[in-house]
């Protein structure tokens, strides 16, 4: 087990190194970063000084090594605009994004699991068809549009909820619902198909035939096994959720990492974009390592040696 965790963390680190590579070259994709970020009034001499100041005059390989060694110590450089360390800005916003993603996943799971289970137990019933239909619409709908519709309804019409910001505790309701609905839609269909597969197994029939009531069979026998594919997809969906947060945070002016990234892109603040990218992928990688480890907890058959 310990060895499995070690291997998994090692793999995560390698992934992160490749991501750092991508983030490093992304910023240089459009040619000389100084030409893009320097004010148009700068002459060539001043630009050259900037290049030296930021180290863009060195060979690419050397620049990359410097970038990585600094990044490891938490130094991503100073944000061009706010003149504060990029790392500090990112850490400040990370909590808000995690909070939003956490609440959204809770909403997603607490809708998807019951919906999927009930659907699988009443296959092709009115309820099943209805929830499948709703789930299809939920997958097809742009999440930020759902957010806009909620603003029209709850903020403009009913004046119940704040349309933007994070000052009031109730401000999290709409953004998290917006993100949770997409997740619920996708996960409920997955839960349904995972449950259908498990419900056909011999041990479920055995459980029924020894006279156990449906509730016991579903929760003690079927659910435990259906949880494995659900968890895998849930982990991947968190990536989807983090991606959606970029747009949803912009709609609701939620002070998270996604909005920081969009704002930084707007002012061409590439240091912050790089740091935000790395932290997004760090969050995603760590969550998926945790989920892999949780497999062993849920299913004692899984041993990693």
């Amino acid at each position: 087990m310990q060895q499995f965790i070690a291997t998994r963390i090692f793999q995560g680190l390698i992934t992160l190194i490749i991501v750092s590579f991508l983030a490093f070259f992304l910023v240089r994709l459009k040619g000389d970063p100084v030409d893009i970020t320097a004010p148009p009034t700068f002459n060539e001499d001043q630009k050259q000084r900037l290049r030296e100041l930021w180290g863009f005059d060195k060979p690419l390989a050397e620049q990359y090594v410097i970038f990585v060694t600094r990044a490891v110590t938490g130094d991503f450089g100073i944000a061009y605009l706010s003149k504060r360390p990029a790392m500090e800005l990112v850490i400040e916003r990370l909590g808000a994004t995690w909070l939003l993603a956490g609440v959204a996943s809770l909403i997603g799971l607490s809708v998807a699991l019951p919906l999927g289970i009930i659907s699988s137990l009443n296959r092709n019933s009115f309820f099943d068809l209805g929830s499948t239909m709703l789930a299809s619409i939920g997958t097809a709908m742009p999440s930020f549009w759902l957010g806009l519709m909620m603003i029209i309804f709850f903020s403009v019409r009913l004046r119940l909820l704040p349309a933007f910001g994070a000052r009031d505790p109730s401000a999290i309701i709409m953004p998290s619902l917006t993100m949770g609905v997409g997740m619920a839609a996708y996960l409920s269909r997955l839960t349904r198909s995972a449950m259908l597969e498990v419900l056909n197994e011999d041990y479920v029939r055995t459980a029924y035939s020894k006279g156990l009531i449906t509730r016991t069979v579903v929760f003690r026998h079927a659910m435990k096994n259906a949880l494995i594919p659900i968890m895998t997809v849930f982990g991947l969906q968190l990536g989807w959720l983090l991606g959606g947060s970029v747009v949803v945070e912009s709609v609701f002016s939620w002070p998270g990492l996604g909005r920081l990234m969009i704002d930084s892109i707007g002012v061409r603040d590439n240091t912050v974009v790089q740091a935000a990218l790395l932290f997004f992928s760090l969050s995603f990688i760590s969550i998926n390592i945790v989920i892999d480890i949780l497999y062993a907890v849920i299913d004692p058959r899984i041993r990693f040696d």
Binding site: L16, I18, A140, P142, M149, L242, V246, V273
Partner: protein, 311 residues
């Protein structure tokens, strides 16, 4: 299932197998006849056909100019009729442009981006997956680690970051979505290649000394192409949603090109008063993507039940 080429049938060939051998076609029900039996497939195909037709002919049938507006009829609600008798079915926007006409024309970008980007991503992904799965070993390991790294930056964040740095534009947008969407295909196709490699007729092809490239193209590729098609259908919807997100954030296509995402962005600033500006373009996106989702679901059910895609 009929026996694959080069593989001796285990039992005596049935009449159907003989027909297959003679005509080269199996008598499995064609997609068209399967479509007739599936409401989901029918609705999906119907929506998609309608959107494609509208995308092609929209400039000819729009009731109003979608780009030039009339400042005297700004922010008019749905059903508004101007003095000259012109009716705006879904209202007008901040420049007095007809929302309905703009939605019709907006379908062009969605279709174009959805189809072309997915074709680029699919081609790269299939080639990548074929190479990785076929070569195997250390090369495969390295190629898959690269995929892991790409996937660990969620799709939308990947495209937002790239287009934010590279800049907006229709061609750039298509390239960005195409060049960052291939990873899902690569992973799925690689898995399928690993399975297909073990087929007896692939072994047979090896043993009679066929060249590797021939084996890949003639014996392995046909096995994995169904998964690629199903995945492509699913990815079209995801790509369209990504396009609307990017255009909404101002990172996708720039005005005066009309897209549904730009319309939503226009509407966001006046969401307090002009609800119709944000409502209708979103409905257009949802219906279109719903059509793609239905089509994808139906293709998956009829071609290959094991594909899931969305990263």
């Amino acid at each position: 299932m009929s026996a694959g080429p080069g593989q001796p049938p285990a039992t005596l060939p049935s009449e159907e197998d003989v027909a297959t051998l003679v005509t080269g076609h199996s008598r499995q029900p064609s997609l068209l006849s399967l479509l007739r039996r599936s409401p989901i497939g029918l609705i999906g195909t119907g929506i998609i056909s309608l959107v494609i037709v509208l995308a092609v002919i929209s400039p000819l049938i729009v009731p109003h100019d979608p780009i030039r507006g009339n400042l005297r009829t700004r922010y008019k609600p749905p059903g508004f009729t101007a003095d000259d008798g012109a009716t705006h079915l879904l209202g007008t926007d901040q420049l007095g442009r007809d929302i309905f006409s703009r939605i019709l024309v907006g379908s062009r970008v969605s279709v174009l981006v959805g189809v072309v980007a997915v074709m680029i991503a699919g081609t790269i992904g299939v080639l990548y997956g074929l190479t990785s799965g076929f070569l195997g070993g250390r090369v495969d390991g390295v190629m898959m680690r690269i995929c892991d790294a790409m996937l660990s930056i969620p799709f939308v964040i990947r495209v937002v970051a790239i287009s934010g740095i590279v800049g907006p534009g229709l061609v750039t947008l298509i390239l960005i979505l195409g060049l960052s969407g291939w990873v899902t295909y690569a992973r799925v196709i690689r898995g399928e290649v690993l399975k297909a490699r073990e087929n007896d007729y692939v072994m047979a092809a090896w043993s009679i000394g066929q060249r590797p490239l021939w084996v890949v193209l003639h014996h392995i590729l046909p096995n994995v192409i169904a998964s690629a098609i199903v995945l492509a259908a699913l990815q079209v919807g995801i790509t369209m949603l990504a396009e609307s997100s990017l255009s909404f954030l101002g990172l996708g296509v720039k005005p005066p090109t009309v897209t549904w995402g730009i319309q939503l962005a226009d509407g966001k600033s006046v969401i307090n008063s002009a609800w119709w500006m944000t409502t209708y373009p979103g409905i257009a996106i949802t219906i279109t993507v719903l059509g793609v989702v239905f089509l994808g679901d139906w293709l998956r059910d009829s071609l290959d039940p094991n594909v899931r895609g969305r990263d």
